[in-house]
């Protein structure tokens, strides 16, 4: 039988824009130290580290961990595009689950460049080749950033299907900014109105600049442990992982739907498995951190996760069911849109926010009586990791 995984320490750096942050090893070490302190463990207690990042030469993970301690432990470098952070988290959780270790570190960081994401290697098969093929068939290619074309195209398909207004997409950004205003770790703390969001430069219809997550630098970390280890530390009621699922692309990703190409079915399938695995349904969830790299994806994800029925996202948004006072609080941290999206760190920053929420230490962002939290982290290429946390 697999062992329960507890999250006993979390930490993150303030997210910053490219150029304004420390180097990756400094950010990562800082986040790890905060998490270690939070867990009240010593670095020597940590038996292995799972370190995620997307951009950087090999073994950046060790370099980051070495600034925290040199105990010769195994360090695994993890790379899974935008879902890198939660992939590191999942590997770390598996080590506990399988009884391989009692206490481990999951760490993620990213030092990003200005401008949109691009491909670093042009002399080999692009891993997103099959995804791009779908897009080329469906809508051609233009000079907009690729990710914006993909998720924006998914937004177009959704709009065509359900007649969604552009304002609805902008509403999501407005909400993200409002949430982030209460998050000192977020990159953007200033609220924006729907009008301002719509008036910003168009990136790829229906997406405007303020509906795209910014390139960000930052790091986040989590300390995971077994029940026995938590007991030894005297922690009586730790936040624990009730379930976790990763999916990758299904054949439907490569048919003719932009929505499916950007991972709608990966999320949908993962959610089904997670709800089965945990016996917790969407309706039982109190707070959600989900992958809002673009407003369009947050909207699709509401439906894929079953937070609202298919085709009903617009009503869900205008009814305020995605924020305080509604059915779910989605992205209390401000999400990728406002908190920022350092690829390798995002999955662990989501974890950090949710652990704070479940501990009741969310400050002004605290979701009242949060007991069950859901995390959704998605990477094109593709991988979708869902994690359910409980008090």
């Amino acid at each position: 039988m697999s062992k329960r995984v507890n999250v006993i320490g979390v930490g993150m750096t303030k997210f910053q824009k490219p150029g304004a942050s420390d180097d990756y090893n400094v950010m990562a070490a800082n986040a790890a130290k905060v998490a270690i302190e939070d867990a009240k463990v010593k670095f020597a207690d940590i038996e292995s580290a799972y370190v995620g990042y997307v951009f950087g030469d090999s073994t950046c993970g060790q370099r980051a961990v070495y600034d925290v301690g040199l105990t010769g432990i195994p360090v695994f470098n993890v790379n899974n595009n935008c879902s890198t952070g939660s992939t590191a988290l999942m590997l770390a959780a598996q080590a506990i689950q399988g009884g391989i270790a009692e206490c481990v570190l999951a760490l993620g960081f990213e030092k990003m460049e200005k401008g949109a994401l691009g491909s670093k290697y042009t002399d080999r098969t692009n891993p997103l080749e099959k995804h791009v093929d779908v897009m080329v068939r469906a809508q051609g290619v233009n000079s907009a950033p690729f990710a914006a074309q993909m998720f924006g195209g998914a937004g177009r398909e959704y709009r065509w299907k359900y007649g969604t207004k552009k304002e609805t997409f902008a509403k999501i950004s407005e909400k993200a900014r409002k949430h982030a205003a209460n998050n000192p770790y977020a990159l953007f703390n200033t609220p924006l109105s729907v009008e301002e969001i719509l008036a910003s430069e168009e990136v790829f219809d229906p997406l405007t600049r303020f509906q795209c997550c910014p390139p960000t630098c930052g790091a986040a970390a989590a300390i995971l442990c077994s029940d026995e280890f938590a007991k030894k530390l005297g922690i009586t009621k730790p936040i624990y992982i009730a379930g976790q699922v990763m999916t990758t692309d299904f054949p439907s990703s490569f048919e003719d739907s932009m929505m499916k190409m950007v991972g709608y079915d990966m999320t949908k399938n993962a959610a089904k498995k997670l709800y089965e695995q945990t016996g917790i349904g969407a309706e039982d969830v109190d707070v959600v951190e989900l992958h809002d790299c673009f407003t369009a994806n947050e909207l699709l994800t509401y439906e894929a996760l079953g937070l609202c029925p298919e085709g009903q996202a617009e009503k869900f948004i205008w009814d305020g069911d995605n924020t305080y006072g509604g059915k779910f609080v989605t992205n209390p941290s401000g999400g990728l849109l406002s908190k920022g999206h350092p690829l390798g760190a995002t999955g662990l920053a989501q974890c950090t926010e949710l652990v704070w929420q479940l501990r009741g230490t969310g400050g002004k962002r605290q979701v009242k009586d949060a007991k069950v939290a859901l995390q959704h982290n998605l990477g094109l290429g593709g991988a979708c990791v869902l994690t359910m946390y409980r008090t």
């Binding site: 051609g140 195209g153 398909e157 065509w160 007649g163 969604t164 219809d205 932009m258």
Partner: protein, 1015 residues
Amino acid sequence: MSQLRFDGRVALVTGAGNGLGRSHALLLASRGCKVVVNDLGGGHTGGGKSSAAADAVVAEIKAAGGEAVANYDSVEDGDKIVKTALDAFGHLDIVINNAGILRDTSFQKMTQEDWDLIYRVHVLGAYRVTKAAWDHMRERGFGRIILTASAAGIYGNFGQTNYAMAKLGLVGFGSTLAIEGGKKNVHTNVIAPIAGSRMTETVLPKDLIDALKPEYVSPLVAYLCHETCTENGGLFEVGGGFYGKLRWERTSGKVFKLGRAISPENVQSAWGDITDFKKTTHPKDITSSMEPILGNLGTKALGGNEFIDLDQAMGYEFPSATTTYDERDTALYALGVGAAQNPLDEKELQYVYEMNGAGFNVLPTFGVVPALGFIFDLYKQGKQAPGMNYGFERVLHGEQYTELRRPLPPHAKLTHKAKIKDIFDKGKNALVVTEIRSFDETGEELVYNELTTFVRGAGGWGGDRGPQGEVNTPPDRAPDQTITEKISENQALLYRLSGDINPLHADPAFAKNFGFEKPILHGLCTFGYAARHVIRAFSNNDARLFKSIKARFSESVFPGETIVTEMWKESATRIVFRCKVKERDKVVLASAAIELYTEIPKPKAKPATTPTPTTAVAAPAGLSLPTEGGMNSNDLFWGIRHHVETNPDLVGQIGTVFQFKLTGPESVWTLDLKNGKGSVTEGEAAKPDCTLELSQADFLGMATGKLNPQKLYFGGQLKIGGNLMASQKLTFLQKIDAAKTRDAMKAAGYTPGAGGAVPAGASATAGPAASSGSPSGDVFVAIRDYIEKNPDLVGQVATVYQWKLTGPDSAWIMDLKNGKGSVEPGNHDKPDCTLELADSDFMAMTSGAADPQKLFFEKKLKISGNLMASQKLTFLKKMDPEQAKAAIAKAKASGGAPAAGGGAAAAPKKDAVAPRFFGALAERLKKTPALKDEVKAIIQFVVTAPDAAWTCDFVAGAITEGKVDNATAVVRIADSDLTEIAQDGNLASLFQHGKFKVDGDVRVAHKLGFVKGLV
């Protein structure tokens, strides 16, 4: 909820003097049940006897107002206990087999008595009591039986081998009683209770026993015994407040196909599957237990042994891969199989010299090289087919069959798909046939190979022996043709460069180890020799007629020996042959034949629709061009050029570079309606936006309006690459007036139908356009001025730069390599370095406002060719702005003659589509008022380039120019795209492509289908 009552029921509880039995008896009695309280009154290990325990319980029941009688018999006398019940109460409904004792001791110390005693009380006792009650219950059509098992029996427990045996025995006993009694409403269930009793005091700590009261177990027993409970054959764990049912879980396991031996090693290697509880079933009964076994009965293994598992390997499809080859590879191969030993032999030059006057042809047997290379690569990557568990050292290439679907092109990108086609048991050895199909880039199969390998020592599983008997046996007469050729001493060294680098063919020491005096020749090298010989002898030396070859490799050949190919013509298309080594008179290629085509096959993907196929392939362009109305395609392109020249607006409107690839005969034309003034030239375009492939005849039909391009496209006669949408802009072709074109031709001295040459003066790229609105032209003027003043630059930079600016588009050549250097608009045919960027970025870069490196990394600046040369452009920063201004002013004053490109995009668009589009829409609405009801919405169109606003009010039924603020949806669209939505009509796709945008409710746009055909 009403109370579960047992009024009128009679229960018999064994061992009811204490613990669980007492608790069961008390609970049932409290609910109206008459109870026989049986207890021998012995100790919990089976010694002694007394009536006190049973009497006490009976007294307790009676005191509470219930009915009960005591019985002091041993359960081994079950009939006496049952008799007590029948005597006292007349019938019996419930039997609770609860009596039990413990004789705990490790197996090591266990005595026969310990074993027998436990068996007698638990198993034999339960049997005797139940047996005595059984017929009675069946006759009455009601009975509830409880058997008491234990977790120790289910899971095992130290010191309780005897007890565990007995307890699990009761589970099996109960499962079967349930089946036999079910129909008579006699239900049997088994409980595995945990409770603090005299028996468990020995194994459990005191405080735990207190928590495990028997009273926590009895409610389950009572419910199971109630008449409303339908549970039968269940097993329950119960105690301390916990109630749960157990069932069997079984892994999905591993199913081996039947018909062949299953070894312990098979089981070992399947252990993961056998024990994997991720996939499980829960068999309920014998039938469901048998399911996988029954399911496997029909299967039959194909057979195999430790080397080959046919069930896994047969039909296995290898992962496909793509390889390329070019003229160099095919020539090297031809040299490798001895072609052109005499370099003056014209018949052989065709295989090795790509510029050969009489044509360059690939030696057909080259078709085996890419396919085998693909298979070798799979081996190297360890991608053996599953079930093929032998090393490469056992493999011998036995036979080869290679078939070409059409002549191999001189270079190609091939995708190979291979699968195991057959596996034969040749007794001692095995024969494995792998088929490899190689497809060209259009997806058409080009080559089919069958690779037959001998696997030494891998046969003998008693399987299919495969086709028997000799094939392609030479007839009993002297050969019709014989070709003798000496093989060079170093031939194997040459052949191995085509991919088979086995050291056996190169390394003398290695060859000795294999028992050969020196490295041997590749069998496939001899194969190539033979093909060459047959083509020479029977195919009029036309390699393109070659269809297929099959041969068996019967003996090794040494380089330096003389090969004799003996050939027999069996039919016009079939040549049987064999190859011998002259020196040793040994047959080295046997059972061999080559088949020929009667005419050269053509690619299927591009069917030549011209009725004169014989003119295809090698006919020089222009000799026999199909004509339509007295015009051939050359004439037509002349006409198109004339049309483009006389309609300069076309460039702005269409903005596309078209590439026409015509077949039958082949010719290539570029129609540039994007750059400069536009141009029509023969030859390939550097970067076409849209490529159209079709036959000359179809092109003529299409351009003259006789054939519908859409039909051609869907019929597969027209292939469109690149921007599919752009091809729709070609409708202008139909506007070309044939009569006027002829007049123009006459005036220009061009003879229609003459074909070929393009008249002088009309050729080449259009010259630079007249001055435009873009200031980038001025900058180039300034650069030219700077270069003129700094003649040393040419030596220092020594580079020809090609600038391609977009938005507005223009192209400039900056030559700092030749002569004194020059700057002029247009496209250079061999630039060293090409820079592509937006006009505005170019301006920002040359004014120093933007850093070229940054532009490059942001992908706003694309550099092709020599990247380093772009770094030499820093001289641009040294230009004096004042001087530049002066130069520009001077150029403008002198009439603007040299100035800028970009004329195309900046050319004024005289014919905005919008007025026509909305005019036509108003007409349509007038004619079809039903449109109103169909749409029922106000749609605001905001048109750009040129800007316009139109309101389509489908509520009031009016199309008016201008804006309103109560529109249901706002459609934003470029003027030129109005044509596209009117022509294409696939609104979902156009929306997805961003051809138009919608504010407000997008679904209104779904109803815009009626715009199709408006303009």
